[in-house]
């Protein structure tokens, strides 16, 4: 019994320590954004890696999600003779929820695993120690550009994802339901305007739709850097770090999405 308690105690300590290390890494990565030296070249390279190179999968995901949303909603809405609201439904779902979450999950799979594998390989081949001995803070050099690039690029990818999804919905509405495009886009616009405004001009849907990818970008990049920089045990360790990154960041995205939605709804409704 006492052995079990000791083991639980050790496990609890280890978990608390891991959480502390995660948030310390998060804090340092974010605070170094404003500290010299600025690794601009690394930032641009990471923006290309995280943003531009993820464009393909985000475009595909967005297009087909928008199309399937329009298709499913058209079946339901036809029952009530309300197919003209397909645009509202697709826009609301894409901008508030599916755009940010799907872009986040796609980037977690493609970019998060890549970051963890790269940093993990650097760790097991002593390149991280080499950076330290050359007088460079590995967090500033490796984590900060990746976190900042994810913070910038994930909202951009999400906007593209939303737009392509709504266009996909338009294609289905126009060619399979027979809804005129002008009507579809008008209902999209109505949806955006109906949610109210923040600071008079910013639609609340946009506030929700852009806050989430910002948080998801931080989650993906910090989780990937955390597992990458903690890698031990050679190539097997790199594989484990990659898997843990994708699983953890995907779960965190879905869980945080719920609480963030609750928070944003309560904040935006009280305005």
């Amino acid at each position: 019994m006492s052995e079990l308690i000791l083991r639980l105690n050790a496990q609890a300590k280890s978990t608390v320590l891991s959480i502390q290390e995660y948030f310390t890494l998060a804090w340092n990565s974010l605070r170094f954004i404003f500290a010299r030296p600025f690794y601009t070249q690394d930032l641009i390279q990471q923006m290309d890696e995280i943003g531009v190179k993820s464009l393909g999968i985000v475009l595909l995901t967005g297009l087909f999600t928008g199309m399937v949303l329009a298709l499913q909603s058209s079946v339901q809405l036809q029952t009530f003779g309300a197919t003209m609201y397909i645009g509202r439904l697709v826009a609301g779902s894409m901008i508030r929820e599916l755009g940010p979450v799907l872009a986040g999950l796609m980037v977690a799979g493609r970019v998060g695993s890549g970051i963890a594998a790269q940093l993990g390989s650097m760790k097991v081949t002593e390149q991280i120690d080499a950076l330290n001995t050359l007088g460079t803070d590995p967090i500033k050099k490796l984590a900060t550009p990746r976190v900042l690039a994810a913070l910038i690029m994930l909202p951009v990818l999400t906007v593209i994802n939303d737009l392509v999804g709504i266009i996909g919905g338009n294609i289905i509405a126009r060619f399979m339901v027979g809804l005129p495009s002008s009507l579809y886009w008008r209902t999209v616009w109505e949806q955006i305007m109906s949610g109210g405004f923040t600071m008079r001009y910013i639609p609340n849907d946009f506030v929700q739709g852009l806050t989430k990818p910002l948080v998801f970008g931080a989650i993906i990049s910090i989780t990937a850097c955390y597992f990458g920089l903690r890698t031990t045990g050679g190539t097997e360790g790199v594989g484990q770090a990659t898997t843990k990154t994708v699983v953890t960041s995907s779960i965190l995205i879905l869980v945080v999405d719920y609480f963030l939605t609750q928070l944003l709804l309560s904040v935006l409704q009280t305005q």
């Binding site: 081949t125 390149q127 120690d129 080499a130 330290n132 001995t133 050359l134 007088g135 460079t136």
Partner: protein, 285 residues
């Protein structure tokens, strides 16, 4: 004295004789005056004072050693005795639980992370696997510390990189644009040394610089470390398993056993030592 003991004595005597003979031959072959093991005068550059470190179990216990300016201290010992950990303490990548580590008289034990980064700029480190940045070319690898910590313009950086590559006997035009993956093991080690030297450090640390290399390349790397000591008067700490290289380059040898230093002295003193463990270590190696 038993027959077994007499056989052991004869064996260790012949090992010592072989080492002395090899040393003399190497000095002749390399046309090197040899390393002056007795008369290294100067201020202590690295001091490790009664340092202990443990994680789940003890790693180092009451370690004390010092390196004067221009000395090459070689740390030897069986695997897992904490040799590489000693290097990490000097680099302040690890903090001892007890004792002090002084660099140029400054206690680095309680420095902040940022202060430690500055102290590390006085040091060059050569890793076991070279640890070159695999996404950067050889030129970019060596230029890295210069771009990070100096105000040199690109022409000056290129000149310095060429100079360091020539020092490690590599032809700059042939290797500068290559990626580390395109180099042989020995070349990678030499580029690692060139990168460590880029900032003209006063201290060089080597973690198993000759491991995994063929005998000829091992000789080349050993001669390179000796050249550094001779021409640049760099203070060096070398962790090595290769006893032949150790006896060639060391001004002093520290033998780690059971997390403690059981011998600290010149190679000659080591080869003449009567201690059972030292004799066994030399024999086994």
């Amino acid at each position: 004295m038993t027959e077994t003991r007499r056989k052991e004595d004869r064996a260790s005597g012949s090992i010592r004789a072989a080492i002395r003979k090899e040393l003399a031959e190497d000095a002749q072959q390399d046309n090197i005056d040899g390393i002056d093991t007795d008369n290294v005068e100067g201020r202590p550059v690295i001091e490790i004072e009664e340092v202990s470190l443990a994680f789940d179990q003890p790693i180092l216990e009451d370690i004390t050693l010092s390196a004067k300016e221009g000395e090459t201290i070689v740390i030897v010992g069986e695997s897992g005795t904490g040799k590489s950990t000693a290097l990490k303490l000097i680099l302040r990548l690890l903090v001892p639980e007890k004792g002090r580590v002084l660099i140029d008289g400054e206690d680095i034990t309680h420095l902040s992370f940022e202060e430690a980064l500055k102290v590390r700029q006085k040091m060059g480190m050569v890793f076991q696997g070279a640890a070159l940045f695999d996404s950067l070319t050889v030129f970019e690898n060596i230029a890295y510390p210069l771009r990070e910590h100096t105000d040199l313009d690109e022409d000056q950086i290129e000149e310095r990189v060429r100079q360091k590559l020539q020092f490690v006997d590599l032809e700059p035009d042939e290797v500068m644009e290559k990626l580390p993956s395109e180099l042989s093991g020995g070349m990678r080690k030499r580029v690692g040394i060139a990168r460590g030297l880029a900032n003209d450090p006063e201290i060089m640390l080597y973690d198993e610089p000759t491991s995994g290399l063929d005998p000829l390349t091992t000789g080349t790397i050993t001669r390179l470390i000796m050249k550094l000591q001779r021409e640049l008067k760099v203070t060096s700490i070398v962790v090595s398993h290769d006893i032949r290289s150790v006896f060639k380059m060391a001004t002093k040898v520290a033998l780690l056993h059971d997390h403690k230093i059981v011998f600290f002295g010149t190679p000659e003193e080591m080869s003449a030592a009567e201690d059972q463990y030292i004799r066994a270590f030399l024999g086994q190696t």
